[in-house]
Point group: C2
Chain length 265, copies 2
Amino acid sequence: MSVHLPAVGAVLPNRTSPVPLWAQVCADLRRRMALGEFVAGVPGEHALVDQYEVSRHTVREALRVLRGEGLIRSERGRASTVEPSPFSQNLGSLYSLFRTLEEHGIFQVNTVRRQSLTRNSTIAERLGVDGDADLVVVERLRFADDSPLALDTSWLLADCARPLLDVDFTHHGLYDSLSRICGVHMDSGRERIEAVRAPEHVAALLEVGRDTPMFLMERVASSEGSPLECRETFIRGDRFRLDIDWSDSRYSVAGVAHPTRIESQ
Amino acid sequence: MSVHLPAVGAVLPNRTSPVPLWAQVCADLRRRMALGEFVAGVPGEHALVDQYEVSRHTVREALRVLRGEGLIRSERGRASTVEPSPFSQNLGSLYSLFRTLEEHGIFQVNTVRRQSLTRNSTIAERLGVDGDADLVVVERLRFADDSPLALDTSWLLADCARPLLDVDFTHHGLYDSLSRICGVHMDSGRERIEAVRAPEHVAALLEVGRDTPMFLMERVASSEGSPLECRETFIRGDRFRLDIDWSDSRYSVAGVAHPTRIESQ
DNA sequence: GTCCATTTGTTCGTATGTATT
DNA sequence: TAATACATACGAACAAATGGA
């Protein structure tokens, strides 16, 4: 069994590197996972020991991290499995909302209101770049089942997001396109969520009264430590709620649409 | 050095128990930590090996969990240290709010509106107990700097929270009292947060208009897997926001009052 | 500044238990 | 029942960082 030939796609870790072996194995597993190599199941720990030529302890350390990130699920006696759409688990509440909608078969469509180059010193400051840096701005009115749900304005560093100027966002997600076209994966960020009254122009676009309660989310999302996106989203409070879980010493945050509202559409 | 005498406060793990050794060590360390035994520093891994008479691997597994919970911080070459106020880190947004206020020196006071025994089949169902189970209900109007901030209604299983009937909650937190008097620590839970218009009676109590945006939080909090508390909180949307961090593959959620609003009081 | 003891981090090896297939 | 796979547990060694002598 111990043929010691690297498996398809497996990259042997570099033992002279200062990066710990488990971290290298971890990174390579992430890479292979992203390529869909493990859709039929993650290889067993023993198999990974052979593939990477490291000890089982090292493999387990790597798997432990992936498990902690929610990328895989492990159970006794059964091969580890990749979790569906784990990507979203690191993308805050809003991304989760639209994934939830998708899972429920809710028809989603965006009306693109702005999609152009711009400059904005306030936004630039939040992103930690010069005030005259080029930005790609994408403003979308988001519908779920033909009913307006949110108004979403996103500013991205043109340095890496310029190709998004030509993308049709009517049916495509911004992070999906960013990943597919620009090769950039958002992996961390901050959100600030307030409960506000709908400003007049927002209320009109979302077809609600001026005093309808709304969530206002302000987000800065980063890839590998560099802030790349600044976003401002108004969400109808009557069609959205936040679920926060702090079981198992780990938080998860998900935005979900009110089931009753959805079903009554 | 290997005297193999249990240290002050250390409880040797039970090897015939179905509970993993590392979990037992973990629980005992948590207990000792709560008693303040480690304020001057956590014993080294080697010392814990001697104290609990287990392998270093087992000790490290236990420490790993505590580290993951944010209870301790470990660095190479330096003894692990207990993190200040880590308790709140596992208690969701609302607890953090009041800790934040405390840290900013905001004067907090509660008006207790209800503090009695009751029964409620809806609440009981959420807590997973019989509909006729006795509950302790505590309803508080919470002020920050003499200005109303939130209306908070909490139902607890009387089985373990009955002593809270005699506590003065004017200046004491519920979880603090629960911990000090009943010996119960909330360690997990779920929150559901909605943006709503203030219901009439809530608006009156919080001294805002009928259409002021509010956060409504519904929480079920558990201790060691058993749901013990069900809570409903209305928070003024004009004095509160949620901060969500999803850096490093781990979420943290904190509720903070708008600094500007507070300072302008 | 250097040396050294301490402490945690990483890595290997081995063995046994337990749940699933 | 047997094989597989993960969970738990022990032992040992070296590396890397820290802090004090």
